[in-house]
């Protein structure tokens, strides 16, 4: 399989000229995680897997730009350094602060979400990052869920990636409450406690159809939702 690179996906150059930039990225990454913890006191619940483990594809519900930061904040640092969120080049590519955060701070795997005018195949880009040893954070709804639905239908990317690299564990991660911290259209976060619930790993079964697989993974993610309060 050829591994086509988009211009935005160049690996960061390592030279002394980059030192200030890398140092700034290191500081920014720490600051973002401290801020996230101050606002949300995010707590991981390792229900189906251990914090430390093999290379994985984490797939999660997507309500806010802060989603992957919460997952990232609760990963042990050995895991965090090798875990890259998959993000749209339309938002995180380009220039300026967003590009700095997208590329240098969170080291995102940037993919082109729009089918038209696409230069590389997103699945190949993601598979390439996996081949380099990275774990991925993927949001299979494809975009932020700004509706009242709990979870949008999954796009097919997760299936194609699982078909391309069938030996990597897919770990569902339910992010709880972040949509209340920053509801759609708001820009000041309210501090509320958040949780990230990690479920048991899944893999593509031999001969499993795309529809079955997407239904199964979606239900595995929904099953991690904390139960609503019950009257005792």
């Amino acid at each position: 399989m050829t591994h086509s690179q988009t211009p935005a996906d160049d690996p960061p150059r390592r030279s002394w000229r980059d030192l200030p930039r890398r140092w700034a990225a290191f500081v920014a990454s720490g600051a973002i995680r401290i801020f996230a913890r101050l606002i949300t006191a995010v707590q991981p619940e390792w229900r189906g897997v251990d914090p430390l483990g093999p290379q994985r594809i984490y797939f999660a519900n997507h309500n806010s730009h802060g989603d992957f930061i919460l997952i990232w904040s609760v990963l042990p640092h050995q895991m965090r350094n090798r875990t890259r969120p998959v993000a749209g080049v339309d938002y995180w590519g380009g220039r300026g602060l967003r590009a700095f955060i997208g590329r240098d701070v969170i080291n995102a795997v940037l993919i082109e979400r729009e089918r038209e005018g696409r230069q590389g195949d997103p699945v190949e880009t993601m598979a390439g990052a996996l081949d380099d040893g990275a774990s991925l954070i993927l949001f299979p709804e494809g975009t932020r869920n700004l509706t009242d639905e709990v979870l949008l239908p999954f796009k097919s990317g997760l299936f194609h990636l699982a078909s391309a690299r069938p030996n990597i564990d897919l770990v569902p991660v339910w992010i709880e409450n972040l949509n209340r911290v920053m509801p759609k259209g708001e820009f000041i976060p309210v501090p509320l406690m958040c949780k990230t619930v990690f479920g048991a790993p899944l893999r593509l079964q031999p001969g499993e159809s795309k529809t079955d697989f997407l239904t199964r993974t979606r239900e595995a993610l929904l099953a991690l939702r904390p139960k609503p309060a019950e009257a005792s």
Binding site: A41, Q43, N177, R180, P183, K184, E186, I188, V190, P191, L192, M193, K227, P228, A229, E230, A231, S232
Partner: protein, 315 residues
């Protein structure tokens, strides 16, 4: 070193001594009965003791830091408690601006009024002004579903987590007879009595507890635990009269009122947890749960202790 400081240091050394003793007992119990860390009760006990070390350390630094230390510490506790409380409520998208105001306007203002010692304002700011103004912010969004419930929840969260908790640093604003510069000891007295009462109720309950007081609210609270805990905490309060403006019997009475309110505060907060279907308010303090789990008895006793002291002892 001022007399207040040396009294404070005595008290902190005393607390440190108790913690050393507790750590030794916890260590021996763990070595005897839970060598592989499987005994849930003992592991929880040791978690609690470790958290106590951290809490005593923070409180000591704050108390030695004086007015700014105490005000900052309790403002942060209010923030953490409010975050825990509002997480469990129905407040949602339509209340976003009310919540933003609660955290970033009401809370800092209340502590600012305490800081400048403006009694007439900090005593009515949340129960009167915020009570009336904040529902307006929510109403503007036009979402009427559960409106009364949402407004009441936010208001009560502010009363418990901000208004009541802020009465601890407010003790520093009191002017008492022959007690200049020693107000920080009032806070030490309140916190020591409340927390020892909680600990002693736990200990007496584990040792002798048979009859449950309120099985529906809190299965771990027993008559024996309550009586043993509140009476021994009252006795300790009386023995601490030297650091208060009270004489021994007044100190005992104050300590008794504090423990009684603290106990009831624990019950009320348990009722809310039961209603919401959770065991703990949060996960911030190992072995204890959340901030509110540790603060519930303090917040219920602080305003009453403040007003009783103000009414009978202020000049």
């Amino acid at each position: 070193m001022s007399p207040a400081d040396s009294d404070l240091v005595t008290l902190i050394l005393g607390a440190g001594g108790i913690l050393v003793l507790a750590s030794v007992i916890g260590g021996v119990l763990g070595w005897l009965y839970s060598p592989d860390g499987r005994n849930v009760t003992i592991e929880n006990l040791n978690d609690r003791i470790r958290s106590w070390w951290v809490m005593v350390l923070f409180l000591s630094i704050a108390l030695l830091g004086g007015r700014i230390g105490v005000t900052l510490l309790f403002a942060l506790c209010s923030f953490a408690a409010l975050r825990e409380f509002l997480t469990l409520t129905n407040a949602g998208r339509a209340d976003h601006w009310s919540l933003v105001c609660a955290f970033f306007v009401v809370l800092p203002l209340q502590y600012y009024f305490i800081w400048i010692g403006w009694y007439d304002m900090f005593a009515v700011f949340i129960p009167v002004y915020v009570f009336l103004l904040l529902p307006i912010v929510s109403a503007f969004r036009g979402d009427t579903r559960n409106y009364l419930i949402r407004v009441a929840e936010v208001q009560w969260a502010l009363m418990i987590c901000v208004f009541c908790a802020s009465h601890v640093p407010a003790l520093l604003t009191l002017k008492l007879q022959n007690f200049d510069g020693r107000n920080v000891l009032l806070i030490a007295f309140l916190v020591v009595v409340v927390q020892l009462s909680d600990v002693l109720q736990y200990v007496w309950g584990k040792l002798l507890g048979k009859h449950k007081i309120a099985p529906k609210l809190s299965p771990s609270k027993t008559v024996e635990g309550f009586l043993g805990g509140s009476l021994s905490a009252t006795a300790i309060g009386a023995l601490l009269w030297w650091m208060t403006p009270f004489n021994p019997w007044q100190a005992a009475l104050m300590a008794f009122i504090i423990t009684l309110l603290g106990f009831c505060g624990g019950l009320v907060m348990s009722a809310i947890k039961r209603d919401r279907g959770v065991k703990d308010w949060g996960h911030a303090i190992a072995g204890h749960g959340g901030f509110i789990d540790r603060l519930d008895s303090v917040v219920f006793s602080a305003p009453i202790f403040f007003h009783l002291t103000r009414y009978f002892w202020s000049v």
